[in-house]
Symmetry: C2
Subunit: 338 residues, 2 copies
């Protein structure tokens, strides 16, 4: 192992000088800085992150907490994509990420304990059940924290603009002449509450009655459940002309239910999803949906969190809202032309 001691010996200076030279302090001459830097490179020196962390209390590691309901782990499309955006930005700023889990080293610990054990510099939380005590403990801890799609606390939060996204989607559907629009909503959460609210407001604004039989509770990411619920909707005495699925992936269930009845999309019935994942745009017909800007959400979360860590910003601060984009697709029939 080549350490600063090695460099010090090679250069004939003290380890203090080496350290300061490498960290570009201003009480060491330009000449020695050069010398130190060069020999460091020659010897293939790499700083020891543990020793540095021990001394400075900065690990340049960010803890990531994510536990979705379906236990799909990293396979969860929305999260994986947000995380990827986060990771890229964090790495750019010199941070690595560490997954926060419960059972490290056989003896189990809480999320907070894991963070303390690893000494992460900050924490980002996404896609969890925010009512869990373990999660709340983390949010209310002394760590710098950023949450995704969850507000109502004094930490940093980045949210997808579900309010405007859903509003635009429903307005678009209405503009195509639909009045009987069903919504299979996902697991109860802030996200779902916002979407539901926008759904209702958009209908009301257009003078359309909100029907309880068109509003059914489903699950995110679960085509099987969604297929079942779609079938129920289709067999109502007065079935809807359009069905909004919890998300794009669940929309597969909606498609299956419709096709299994021998009906076609969008001629017999229109559908929409939410997310705008790649899959939704390679399906035929292309799914009408709202693309969530996952990369930006992740990136913003990373950038804000790191700024907080570096104390370049202060909390509380207002949530950062990341706009989505309506993808019109081909699954909404235009009823106005009939």
């Amino acid at each position: 192992m080549v350490s600063i001691k090695t460099i010090a010996a090679a250069c004939g200076v003290s380890i203090a000088t080496v350290s300061k030279a490498l960290n570009d302090h201003n009480d060491v001459s330009e000449a020695t800085k050069q010398l130190v830097r060069e020999t460091a490179k020659e010897l293939g020196y790499l700083p020891n992150s543990q020793a540095r962390a021990l001394k400075t209390n900065k690990t340049f590691n960010i803890g990531v907490l994510f536990v979705d309901k379906a236990e799909s782990g990293l396979t969860h499309n929305y999260f994986a994509s947000v995380l990827d955006g986060f990771k890229v930005e964090a790495e750019k700023m010199g941070y690595d990420i560490t997954f926060i889990s419960k059972n490290l080293d056989s003896f189990s610990m809480t999320y907070l304990e894991h963070c303390k054990y690893r000494n992460v510099d900050g924490i980002v939380i996404a896609c969890v059940d925010f009512s869990q005590p373990d999660v709340l403990e983390l949010i209310n801890s002394d760590f710098p924290v950023a949450t995704v799609d969850f507000t109502g606390h004094e930490k940093i939060s980045v949210v997808s603009d579900n309010i405007n996204g859903m509003r635009e989607l429903v307005e678009y559907i209405i503009s195509k002449g639909h009045k009987k629009i069903a919504y299979i909503y996902g697991d109860l959460s802030e996200v779902t509450a916002n979407r539901m609210d926008s759904y209702k407001k958009a209908l009301s604004a257009a003078g359309i009655e909100i029907r309880e039989d068109y509003l059914v509770e489903g699950k995110f990411h679960d085509p099987v459940s969604t297929e079942e619920l779609t079938k129920k909707l289709l067999s109502l005495p007065d079935p809807p002309t359009c069905i909004i699925a919890p998300d794009d992936f669940s929309a597969i269930g909606t498609i299956n239910a419709i096709e299994s009845k021998g009906l076609s999309i969008p001629n017999d019935i229109s559908i929409a999803g939410y997310d705008g994942i790649y899959l939704s745009q390679v399906l035929k017909p292309k799914l009408t949906t709202v693309r969530q800007d996952t990369k930006t959400i992740g990136k913003e979360a990373a950038s804000l969190l790191i700024n907080l860590i570096k104390k370049q910003i202060k909390c509380p601060c207002p949530p950062k809202i990341v706009k989505g984009e309506l993808l019109k697709g081909e699954t909404i029939k235009d009823l106005t032309k009939e």
Copy 2:
């Protein structure tokens, strides 16, 4: 911060005794062990992983390298799923994972440098271009290494059983009376080579001629490219009766191409995929494919790598082959019944 020093003071013993008590050494009495453990718990003590790592040279961190060609990051289905299996097993054994990247902290480093900087205890490599010099440097380094789907080195490797998987798939298709079977293969790699080999052998074994026009080069994870290639296959003077796509996700492209010609699956043409992702089984009709046991692959890689780290096994050792499972689905027409 409560450290062993705090505990030592509270218990009236030296820090050495505290350390040994907590690590269950046998030169400290059961009584003091009890006392130390209890006060440690009371005070909410957590070991400082950096300090420990500095002293022991073990970080309980495993580096994960993954860079797929499509730059899809964590969104890559196969990898995300393998990684998840890896992560779960690693956590169970007390290890966290760290993503290995190139540009940490603005000043860029090689993969190997990143690993040295973070002092990972071992490295797992999957889904990368194994011909990259940076990757080879890592494989040939002194770190304990495990690779997924790549052999030919002296380190640990875990591979999906593409040889038998593809063989079973093609045999199944042949058993349904098909003789004109096309294969759109993915990016050139060990995986593709094995599948291609099995494809050819299975055909030959059945006395079926291997036609160059049925063997076309495509890309993994790319429905658009696959759609194009499928169209070409369909417009051959003597088109195939069955098309095998590079993977399940690309198979969407195959489906699109077929349906856009007004043909139906499997009545007019049969198809198959590879991977067995969730999506493939919620599509209608269900895709015929080979499920790769990603969880097991990840789990085995973790378990073997950690055993290597703990020196409970030695390299070189033969590759661990993880069997897949033929999912018969509904996309292969039975031609023998006509």
